[in-house]
Symmetry: C3
Subunit: 389 residues, 3 copies
Amino acid sequence: MAKLLFTLSDTAMGYDEGDWFFDSDSFDSDRISDTPFTLTQEVLEGGRQDGVRVITLTCENGLTISLCPTRGMDILEVFSHDGTRLGWDSPVDEIAHPKTINLEANGGCGWAESFNEMMVRCGYAWAGHPVREGNMFYTLHGRAGNLPASRVEVEISDEDRPTVRIRGLVKEKVFKGVYFECWTELSYELGSQSFAIHDHLTNVGEYPHDYQLVYHSNFGAPLLEEGARFVAPVEHISPFNDYAKPGLSDWQTFVGPTANFDEMMFNIRPYANKAGNTKVALIDKAGERGVAIAFDTRTLPVLSLWKNTDTLKHGYVTGIEPGTGFCYPVTVEREQGRVKSLAAGESVDFNVIYTLLHGADDIAQVEREVEEIQAGRETTVSDQPIAYE
Amino acid sequence: MAKLLFTLSDTAMGYDEGDWFFDSDSFDSDRISDTPFTLTQEVLEGGRQDGVRVITLTCENGLTISLCPTRGMDILEVFSHDGTRLGWDSPVDEIAHPKTINLEANGGCGWAESFNEMMVRCGYAWAGHPVREGNMFYTLHGRAGNLPASRVEVEISDEDRPTVRIRGLVKEKVFKGVYFECWTELSYELGSQSFAIHDHLTNVGEYPHDYQLVYHSNFGAPLLEEGARFVAPVEHISPFNDYAKPGLSDWQTFVGPTANFDEMMFNIRPYANKAGNTKVALIDKAGERGVAIAFDTRTLPVLSLWKNTDTLKHGYVTGIEPGTGFCYPVTVEREQGRVKSLAAGESVDFNVIYTLLHGADDIAQVEREVEEIQAGRETTVSDQPIAYE
Amino acid sequence: MAKLLFTLSDTAMGYDEGDWFFDSDSFDSDRISDTPFTLTQEVLEGGRQDGVRVITLTCENGLTISLCPTRGMDILEVFSHDGTRLGWDSPVDEIAHPKTINLEANGGCGWAESFNEMMVRCGYAWAGHPVREGNMFYTLHGRAGNLPASRVEVEISDEDRPTVRIRGLVKEKVFKGVYFECWTELSYELGSQSFAIHDHLTNVGEYPHDYQLVYHSNFGAPLLEEGARFVAPVEHISPFNDYAKPGLSDWQTFVGPTANFDEMMFNIRPYANKAGNTKVALIDKAGERGVAIAFDTRTLPVLSLWKNTDTLKHGYVTGIEPGTGFCYPVTVEREQGRVKSLAAGESVDFNVIYTLLHGADDIAQVEREVEEIQAGRETTVSDQPIAYE
């Protein structure tokens, strides 16, 4: 087995590779030549994108995955070889450099000026809706998505299942404040229909500090459509707020693009298997295509289901969001006991696996898995929000 | 007739031309060889200017015009072949990159840290003085001047009157907010003493959205001086606030640089001709030089006259500002019915033509034109502000 | 005598040298060949550092000094040939580009997201703890540390004591606001153990304007340690706030890294010699190493002693901060008469000299000098803060 390791960027060296290209032809390995791929880093120019780095992994007979080191290593979009896309069309159609974003703008909603990723991490010191508390302004969904990575590595390994791993070190550090480092990793077995996120968040400080993390995973067309379904092993579900109450009756299906729908959110506590793992899925109407999300409930115990089935141009999208907590302001989350803390030097791991589903067999199998996790246990539906903002 | 089209920047391609040069020698056209010109794009380095793009069109026997794609395609300054300058000397003597500007700073006045253009567009989702309303912070004169263009094109055409057109696409987009695109255009007939702004603002969203636009056009020396005059066909004029009341008696003339003058603003509703066009002018004391501004009152019905005849170093300048409304906070403008809305997909066009005036004949002709538009109709002077901030 | 002058950056020319190297071999001078040195400018890449310039002067048999044009010409760190370091280990371990800093964040404490320099200028229009007053938001320690230099020059002179001077022009300018230019200079006699700061702040406007300046000079290990001492000729000392009261009894010594120590600050009015100069020093426990800071009390009449003897990872550091005033909010400083004003066109000069102390003789001499300045005069200790925030 051989490994190739590239460092694309390292602030400790004051170094960034800039535009970069690698392909499987340069890696003399039989295993890898079966699954040809290219890897690029591109430096965008112009507008709000100026200076933004985008890494794209293109596997001919598998997935094409693009992610953004400049924006916290978040995932921009994913395509399968048949053209199925994970991602959505946000009104925000450029990849904004964090330097152009003022998170405190408009009551702490500056985050909304750059929101268009397939998966954006909300965290790490806090997540959720904005709230002021003394001098602290907990802005919408925290800083994580607007922190450029301090070190970016790409590892190519020709193990039994040849794998590309793209790692980024994201630091959230403030003097007399938080002192977090998160090693994010996206790993992809060449040729497969899955990719995995493994994040390792460490409190490198010497005092305990609260953390929150929500994997805001967003899907529009073609998976989202009228009649698309959300399947999950659910222990408890409740509306996020009063506006979502009427949506409780058909929370498992989606409507088509709907003017003035705005957004409905639901708080879900999923069941998990004995190991603590669970799986949910978004499935199109025909039951032909979908995406499954598996995650480890030991560190991501809950899930927010965000239905933003607004018009196409305003972001027809659903967010399936495994998290340490729900999307209430951190003050509410803390009060209700969903905010955890990392002791000095302590780490926590997060695992999320996304799998593209192709054809009725894939769909049926995921539905079976969800059913097995549910294992006949009851789903409690509460018609009242558990909290208010 | 031939056309040359250059794309200098396009965020959709992640592309920016950077430093760029073109001159008329490279365009084999008899018509154009009569009016030699150069076109450059320069990428500034250092300080707050780092990364800023400036396009300069230099026409030997006509005008030199510089504008800034990084700052909303706004016009930095204009010189005629005899050295007359349109523009002013702001205390802010660098072309600040929007990344260095926090619009919400100091009560929503961060805009003032970069204000030094000859013409800055105030808009598009709002303009005017800052005001908070719920979570929205309507900062001074909106975002338009601090939005980098997403696409920049230069078109050179050897039509009967050979013309250079510099176009920029400026996007103002926020998830769950505004969804505007504005194609700005500056066109210049080679060799002439005029240049025209034609802006096409579109609500590319699916919901109606309010808009405002003020063409904040600013002139200092040499046109502005003690005894300089402002001529306009005026239906109604009133002071912007109590401080401007004493200035009503001689609103048509300017004082020299005056310590502690600060600023006086006047709200003007101009008369227009039957086609809806009007023309105003700033004329120097000797009646030898000036600048005329023609605009279409169907979309720019009013004009703010801003007299900032402060000391030279603090920005001795007058703003002649055709607008959709006045410079009160958007909440006031809305209340008084001057804020218009664009329906889903709807566009609105704005036309402003600036002409340098040389010699008594030019001046006399503009004064005649203004008189013809006034057509003997009465000017109402109100000594009370129509609103308070 | 010969001089070499390099311009590394000049916004008036839209110019920045970028990566740059010079060494003494290129300067044909006997005097200089005795003290070989290199000078570099490096453009950092990646993360929050992207685009940051760092100038490093390395003198083989003297000091290595690095400073940051992008961050107001502030000093990052200094090493002597024996490895003694001036500087500290902040939790903030990258050199953040000002574009990534929102000074108004978290109640005006955005400054804390980039604080890690050995010496950061706090000013110029204001310094001290944050406070709002009308529309003005006086953010923590002002803008000076987050203003990129507009012009950077390096001068090498083979005078009797060959000297390198690194100068930067820092502008703090806001339309209808402050209109300051500060020419900062760091000068270093090649081979010596001292370097000098000479700053020339000018109000280039035509109205008087308040100013404040604090030289926030920060030292961690190895000089700071349990039992390290602070020596100074003190006329008056008082605790900054109630929390610092218990620290009064042993204000002249330091504790080791201490969990939950947080920070204690003391307001000191030093005695000076007849010329107005004074000297203070930080000395390690063994009395073997230290740093002396001489400054001119005619423009820097007071000193803040900031003891942040927190844990190593949270920034074990002391700040020795000659200033125009103390670190209360500018509103308090103004009320108590410590805020001075610059008339139109007026300038003020600031001089601070840092000297590394090696061995018992150096230490003894500095202690003698401090004693001579004290000259047997009394030290008044007040146990009450002179103000509250």
